[in-house]
Amino acid sequence: MKQNQSKARKRLRASTDIAVTVLAVIATVIVVAPLIAIFVYLIYMGASSLNLAFFIHGPKPIGEDGGGMANSIVGSAMILGIASCIGVPIGIGGGVYLAEFGRGTRIANAIRFTADVLNGVPSIVMGVAVYALVVVPTGTFSAFAGGVALGIMMIPTITRTSEEMLLMVPNAVREAALGLGVPNWRSVLSITIKTASPGIITGCMLAFARVAGETAPLIFTALGNENWSLDPHRPIDALPLRIYNYAGSAYVELNRLAWAGALVLIVLIVLAVSLVRYVTSRGILKGAS
């Protein structure tokens, strides 16, 4: 009798195990499926419009062949470069303050709350705000204004992930440094941040990928530009803006270019993220966990 019972239990345990595994696999598939679907669809719609001209020419008048998005790609790179220069140092600095210096203080709680609210601000609002703060005083739409808008959007994500990653560094590591007579600031810079750096870099990449596709904040700041521009004080084009303009166009050829642009945008984001990961993962030692 008892043996039967335990056998039944064993079977129940085994089937529960299988059921949970299956559920987890299904969930994973559901997560990955949209990504694959989007990618496949983009290739299907956009790949045919990709050619050399796409990458070396700017927009051409309607009806003329060989228009591309070179200026938008360069513009996006410029805006994102400016945004990273603003968002990454401020974001990491904020995270370091929250985790290492301001732990438990009122100011830290206020900063954390502000970062969470900032994270929830709709991107169009960010665009309008930067319009008022940068575009109006300088009197012109510009790459710089676009970079400021995206940079501010990067800050809360980077701050919060940096804080989380730094808090995961065991206190024993901090004590080891202090116990050697290393000043606190040096220990934070050379030990704690370095130990948490893989996570902090992931946070930065996440923020970067998120703002790379933003369109709304750029409408009021970078504006867009049909022509080549490398001047940060002038309006500039960006891939999401170009895609937005072309996707709504009445011309089929422009619609096709929009698809191609979307494909290029995603591929470039993946490439940028992978490149940073590759560069930063070199030099990490064998056996380090």
């Binding site: 080891a176 290393v182 030692l285």
Partner: protein, 252 residues
């Protein structure tokens, strides 16, 4: 060469918790001094007061005086300065996970701006030899992460790291409690050799360990130091009833 430590009327708090009460203790130079006592009796807090690690906790407080050699560490010195003169080995090995073995050992010097490569090479080798780890790691000093070593090796590396800054005193907070018996006996051999050059204060739960490595032993109970005497006397003929109860295993 090591220096002696003179502790006078030391009191320590964690918040409202009075964890150390009126400790007076002379720690002799170039000897090993063991601190024993049940968990929570304040012995770890005590050693953390000797290099001002206690105050890194924001709710901690200390009063009294600790003289290391000629210096009152609370009156005449900054925490950073004093920690360079008083090395510490912690209960759990705590290597810097992103650093190679070499960088771990050199870290105390490098992080304080010391960068003479040749001298660093020599110091790293000497420290690892002193910590009895050199032969096991000399072939992959720069290739392997400090975190990839075994627990016992990591702890000896942490000892080498503490020795590399050339301290006068070495504080060891249960340095072998997370290690297996073989590693433990290696650490004990090491303490035996090191105490000719350094003043060593070792906290331990293991009374045999105290008996093996230390000349002097202090018994702590409930935040007070009950008895301090030669190790031989403490273990064979203690003057206090509570010490006797503890070492004969009647409590704790």
């Amino acid at each position: 060469m090591g220096v002696g430590i003179e502790v006078t009327n030391l009191n320590a708090w964690y918040g409202a918790n009075h964890t150390l009460q009126d400790i007076n203790l002379p720690i002799p130079a170039n000897h090993a001094t063991a601190l024993i006592g049940p968990s929570g009796c304040g012995k770890s807090t005590f050693v953390r007061c000797l290099n001002r690690m206690h105050e890194t906790n924001p709710i901690a407080k200390v009063t009294g005086s600790v003289r290391v050699g000629e210096i009152d560490i609370y009156a005449d010195s900054s925490p950073v300065e004093i920690r360079r003169r008083i090395g510490m080995v912690f209960q759990r090995p705590n290597p810097f996970p992103t650093m190679s073995i070499y960088d771990n050992v050199a870290s105390g010097l490098k992080l304080n701006g010391y960068s003479n490569r040749k001298a660093l090479d020599e110091i790293v080798e000497r420290s690892l030899r002193d910590a009895a780890l050199w032969d096991e790691v000399k072939d992959d000093l720069r290739k392997k992460s400090g975190a990839s070593l075994s627990g016992g090796q990591q702890q000896r590396m942490c000892i080498a790291r503490a020795l590399a800054v050339d301290p006068e005193v070495l504080l060891m907070d249960e340095p072998a409690s997370a290690l297996d018996p073989v590693s433990t006996s290696k650490i004990e051999d090491l303490i035996f050799q090191l105490k000719t050059q350094y003043t060593i204060v070792i906290v331990t739960h293991n009374m045999q360990q105290a008996a093996r490595v230390a000349e002097k032993t202090g018994f702590f109970l409930n935040g007070r130091m009950v008895e301090f005497d030669s190790t031989h006397k403490i273990f064979t003929n203690p003057s206090d009833k509570r010490t006797e109860d503890y070492i004969t295993g009647r409590f704790g």
